[in-house]
Amino acid sequence: MSILIDANTRVIVQGITGRDGSFHTEQMIQYGTKIVGGVTPGKGGQTIFDVPVFDSVKDAVAATGADVSVMYVPAKFAKAAMLTAAEAPLKMLVVITEGIPTLDVLEAYEALTAKGIRMIGPNCPGLITPGQCKVGIMPGPIHKPGRIGVISRSGTLTYEIVKELTEAGLGQSTCIGIGGDPIIGSKFVDLLPLFEKDPDTDAVVIVGEIGGQDEVVAAEYFQKHMKKRVVGFMAGLTAPPGRRMGHAGAIVGGEDDTAASKIAKLESAGIPVAKVISEVVKLIEK
């Protein structure tokens, strides 16, 4: 088992004929993901990597029975693409695109949520259930099937941590990059309950950073509702206040959203936080 995606997940790709979309479609197919269709308005009827292309998400889902869409559409066109996804009977939309205007994300999030469609991202690497299904852009080979769940606001930092886990023999049930934007479709607290319920996950790693209060909310949830072990890593201890550190959502606005404040709150809730990446494995094994 795993959460959100597995070997049976049927995936369509929005923006499949674009540069990033086509590159990562091929990578996902090579990993074993069931890519059943693609969407590029105006290119319906074509095929790419033997995958049929449709004009709309609705058409694609109707023809293929897809339950997940992953989006590589450029930021300028992302709002329309996200809103058309909300019109189809999907279970989940994964938005890889970086740099989408926040109000566009908010409007799409509201539309998707109203239809019961889960949103992951934007500005994220996607998610992977190792050995079964990869929906996103992360390098497949660093992952290994296993019993650790990973939820992260970051991309490459997550790869570092996953690689450490894999090298220590700790495989992963599902790894989810939730994204570095101020508004994201799924936060730590939206996903922790799924891992808590998953019989094949033993422990969860949460990788957070400066900005917002999502890690603190997750710590409160953990304290009240979770029995499984959760360990953390927080990036940005050395980040100066008031500066946006690459991610649109990574900015210290006050005293509550610094890395130091989050680490203190996580630890007091019972989530040990690693000081360096190699410590994550030690904390899980403790």
């Binding site: 490459t156 980040a239 690459g246 190699s278």
Partner: protein, 380 residues
């Protein structure tokens, strides 16, 4: 992106939100002329991108014409929270019968666009929110509805801020206009603190603060033009244009990393092992060797840099492209400090092979690289 009060008030006028007249000036002479034309008393307000201007002496009421020049001179000589004051807003002093707080912003936690109101205006809203949260009013508005919201919808909200029905109606109309400005200009904050009732019973935005969403600037060239180049670091802006994300810090270890989270973690790890990072630098997702050359130039502009740590976890970024960028840089200019390189992930073998025979110091892990960097760079 931050804009100045006078620019925010310009947007208010565009959207029909009542706000006092005013003129932005750069010199004391211009302030004198502006005050003369307006008539005394006037308020001189420092235009800088920080809060707490009043406390720092950056906002002064002037009642006599002969005092305008010296007061303007004094404010223009101030540096508020490290930012030199280069512009003043000259505006007529208002009669204040009542003041409240009103804003619309994106609430990350609730994932909503939210109006915030408080019957105590002119105060620091963050302080009130902590000390007397019951005084804070909230009203969520669906994002798709912001552009078409009508004043009538907000009467219940403003009736809690204004006891006078006519004033509540004026404020509700202002809220509808704020909602439209918020969505049409892609703001992350529109704040009026204080929103006042003047001597004639008119509801007026005495102050204005607008923050713009950087991600949306591509569709607002008119707002990009408002950027105050004096308040920005030229290198950081230049980096953005080249597709890099760069922030200068005051340590001695230059950093070049792919990914924002990993870039922060790299800085933290350097600090953990006793070093001090000289910058935050994310070379971004795609791997163009030219970006590496630009990154080197940015880092080396800082004379404090004693060593450079390059930490790349290849995913979309290919290690061989990064290696090519490093070689191109070494060919193009002299790098006078040691370079520590840690390359892993996509095409790492190709990348390492390219760098063989160079004088670069290699590291197997981030922690090893950071330890070496801290040893060479020392503490700042």
């Amino acid at each position: 992106m931050k804009i100045h009060e006078y620019q925010a008030k310009g947007l208010f006028r565009e959207y029909g939100i009542p706000t006092p007249d005013g003129q932005a000036v750069r010199t004391a002479d211009e302030a004198v002329a502006a005050a003369e034309a307006m008539g005394l008393p006037v308020v001189l307000k420092a235009q800088v991108h920080v809060g707490g201007r009043g406390k720092a002496g950056g906002v002064k009421v002037v009642t006599k014409q002969e005092d305008v020049g010296p007061t303007a001179e004094k404010i223009l000589g101030l540096t508020i929270k490290d930012l030199p004051v280069r512009q003043l807003l000259v505006t007529p002093a208002a009669d204040i019968a009542k003041e409240v707080y009103l804003s619309i912003l994106i609430d990350r936690g609730a994932r909503k666009a939210v109006f915030i109101g408080c019957a105590d205006g002119g105060v620091e809203i963050e302080v009130t929110a902590k000390e007397a949260p019951e005084k804070i009013l909230r009203l969520e508005v669906p994002a798709a509805h912001l552009a078409t919201a009508k004043g009538l919808e907000f009467h219940n909200f403003t009736a809690k801020l204004f006891s006078h029905a006519d004033q509540a109606a004026q404020a509700a109309d202002i809220m509808a206009k704020m909602a439209r400005l918020f969505v049409e200009k892609d703001c992350s904050l529109v704040e009026i603190n204080p929103l006042i009732v003047d001597g004639k019973g008119k509801v007026v935005a005495l102050d204005a603060k607008v923050l713009l969403d950087d991600n949306a600037l591509f569709r607002h060239p008119e707002l990009v033009a408002l950027r105050d180049m004096d308040s920005e670091d030229a290198d950081e802006l230049n980096a953005k244009e080249e597709g890099l994300s760069f922030i200068r810090l005051d340590g001695s270890i230059g950093c070049m990393v792919n990914g924002a989270g990993l870039a922060m973690a790299t800085m933290d790890t350097i600090k953990h092992f006793g070093g001090d990072p000289a910058n935050f630098l994310d070379v971004g997702g795609s791997s163009n060797p030219k970006k590496v050359v630009t990154a080197f130039k940015m880092i080396l502009k800082d004379p404090n840099v004693k060593v450079i740590l390059i930490n790349i976890f290849g995913g979309i970024t290919r290690c061989d492209d990064i290696a090519r960028g490093i070689l191109a840089s070494l060919e193009e200019f002299e790098v006078p400090v040691p370079i520590i390189v840690r390359l892993i992930g996509t095409n790492e073998a190709e990348g390492r092979a390219l760098l063989e025979g160079t004088e670069l110091i290699s590291a197997a892990t981030l922690e090893q690289g950071a330890t070496k960097a801290a040893r060479i760079g020392g503490t700042a």
